[in-house]
């Protein structure tokens, strides 16, 4: 399973990715987590099972959600509080929940 986080450049979200990987390790879940720029969504939709958006690009929601729906990939915006506290556990939980 692959979770992809998208933000403006994939830079700030990569901090969260590290926390999520640790959380996944702790729980013994085999999952690939990557951060990318939202401009790469077309490519990422093809290889990802779940897509999460950084809250700072939620103004792009309409277009990105539409694209994800076309490819039938579940997508959501990361909770602002969880994003702020780089809460890897919670965001991982959000991603796993989406997949179900």
């Amino acid at each position: 399973m692959k979770i992809t986080l998208l933000c403006a450049l994939g830079m700030s979200t990569s901090l969260l990715v590290e926390r999520m990987k640790k959380a996944a390790d702790r729980r013994g879940i085999d999952v690939k987590i990557e951060a990318h720029s939202a401009d790469d969504i077309d490519k990422q939709l093809k290889s990802s099972d779940v897509i999460l958006l950084g809250p700072q690009i939620r103004y792009k929601k309409q277009e990105l959600f539409k694209k994800a729906a076309e490819e039938k990939v579940p997508i959501a915006i990361i909770d602002m509080r969880a994003y702020g506290s780089t809460d890897g556990e919670e965001v991982l939980e959000q991603a796993l929940h989406l997949k179900k």
Binding site: A8, Y59, K60
Partner: protein
């Protein structure tokens, strides 16, 4: 109040910002210009060496300047030429058209519109930022006409079984010929009937007014306020604002480069380095200043921990951990100084540079370059580093009273929680 404003922003403003940032043509222009970034950064390295700010070094370099300028001319100096290709490429790609044909065609269009020098050479000055706006116009024109023909099926269709690379070449034939014919005709008409050129017309109606706006202090102030207001609602402000302003900022900076190469006085203060480096040390909102206060002065566990955890990110100008973590988003106590600090820094920087206390920025560095090095590198002036350090200190003073209030509030909450000894802190 804040809540109601927030609802208003989410409902009415957000879709507009989204539409603007995702608008097909603006996005293609932005992506096309971003594609030139590596060239600009590489060019900057050669520029610093060939036109150094230190006088004795400049004297020493003089005999070699022409040689060292070759890579600068081939990077910075081709901003317009590279952009016409990359913008047409991005736009065609967004339509799902054949992006390579569109890019190639637009390069030819660009040269059709470019008047040659008297001895029949390509004028280098029109290939750089002077050609950037006409590059935008021609790239969009080329792709739109191309698309018009494709949609109406006015193209040569090949029978099945012909390899794609072959039919692609034929697809571009009719629209390509028409596009070049139109641009050629318009340019000839302008030249013969009115003694004008396409370059001149685009400069007069598009480039000069936009640059005058972008280069003015007022333009910069409005941009700074807008960027930080957007961030205060948790929206990537610079992404939204730069989707309109980036061509203008890059063009201004490239003219500084040309002036620096020619050994002339630099014309502009505002430009790409001013907006992307100078007023955003530590990320948007001069966030490094606030992060330092968190580490140094915070008494609440939340801010202290956040500061320690994000000081390195902030040093490399990534501010999201602070913006969402403190949070600054929707928090008037912090978003007021978050807007005021970069404004004050912008004014100080502008006046220091216009008074000649510090050199004007002409070098483009990656936005993750940490302070005060980014200040020295962008201006090629050691005093740039001093000014940037002063700016950080000024920002700390602006943040301080707001930070104290917020820190006190959090500390009281933490203590209250502890006395109840129930809730778990994260």
């Amino acid at each position: 109040m804040v809540n109601r404003f927030n609802v208003f922003m989410e409902r009415y403003f957000m879709p507009v910002a989204g539409k603007m940032a995702e608008q097909r043509h603006l996005k293609a222009v932005r992506d096309g210009i971003i594609a030139t970034m590596p060239l600009l950064i590489i060019g900057s390295i050669f520029l610093i060496i060939s036109s150094p700010p230190v006088e004795s070094w400049a004297e020493f370099m003089k005999p070699y300047t022409a040689t060292w300028s070759i890579p600068v001319n081939a990077t910075f100096g081709l901003l317009g030429l590279v952009a016409v290709f990359s913008i047409a490429y991005s736009l065609a790609k967004s339509y799902g058209m054949d992006e390579l044909s569109a890019g190639v065609l637009s390069v030819a269009t660009f040269f059709v519109a470019t008047p040659l020098t008297e001895d029949g050479n390509i004028p280098l000055n029109l290939m750089g930022s002077e050609g950037l706006f006409i590059a935008i116009v021609l790239a969009i024109f080329t792709v739109e006409v191309f698309r018009f023909f494709e949609n109406r099926n006015l193209i040569i269709r090949m029978p099945e079984g012909v390899p794609p690379s072959v039919w692609r070449a034929f697809t571009a034939l009719i629209p390509g010929a028409v596009i070049i014919f139109i641009v050629w005709g318009v340019d000839l008409l302008l030249r013969n009937a009115f003694d004008l050129s396409l370059h001149g017309v685009v400069a007069a109606i598009l480039r000069q007014p936009l640059e005058a706006m972008g280069a003015s202090l007022w333009g910069a102030i409005i941009a700074i306020i807008l960027i930080h207001l957007l961030w205060s609602f948790g929206i990537h402000g610079i992404s939204v604002v730069a989707s309109v302003m980036a061509p203008i900022w890059y063009s201004l900076t490239e003219q500084n480069v040309a002036a620096q190469q020619a050994g002339e006085k630099l014309p502009y203060i505002i430009g790409q380095p001013f907006m992307a480096i100078w007023v955003t040390v530590g990320g948007s909102g001069m966030a490094l200043a606030l992060t330092i206060l968190f580490v140094w002065r915070a008494r609440s566990r939340h801010l202290k921990g956040l500061g320690r955890g994000s000081i390195w990110a902030s040093f490399f100008n990534i501010s999201e951990p602070i913006v969402f973590g403190a949070p600054i988003v929707m928090n008037p106590l912090l978003f007021i100084p978050f807007i005021l600090a970069p404004l004050a820094v912008g004014l100080i920087t502008y006046f220091s540079m216009s008074l000649g206390l510090v050199g004007k920025p002409y070098v483009i560095v990656p936005w993750t370059t940490p302070p005060p090095f980014s200040g020295i590198l962008t201006t090629g002036d050691w005093r740039g580093g001093v000014l940037m350090t002063i700016n950080i200190i000024v920002a700390m003073f602006i943040y301080y009273p707001f930070f104290r209030l917020y820190d006190k509030k959090l500390l009281e909450e933490e203590q209250a929680n502890e006395s109840v000894a129930a809730t778990k802190e994260d």
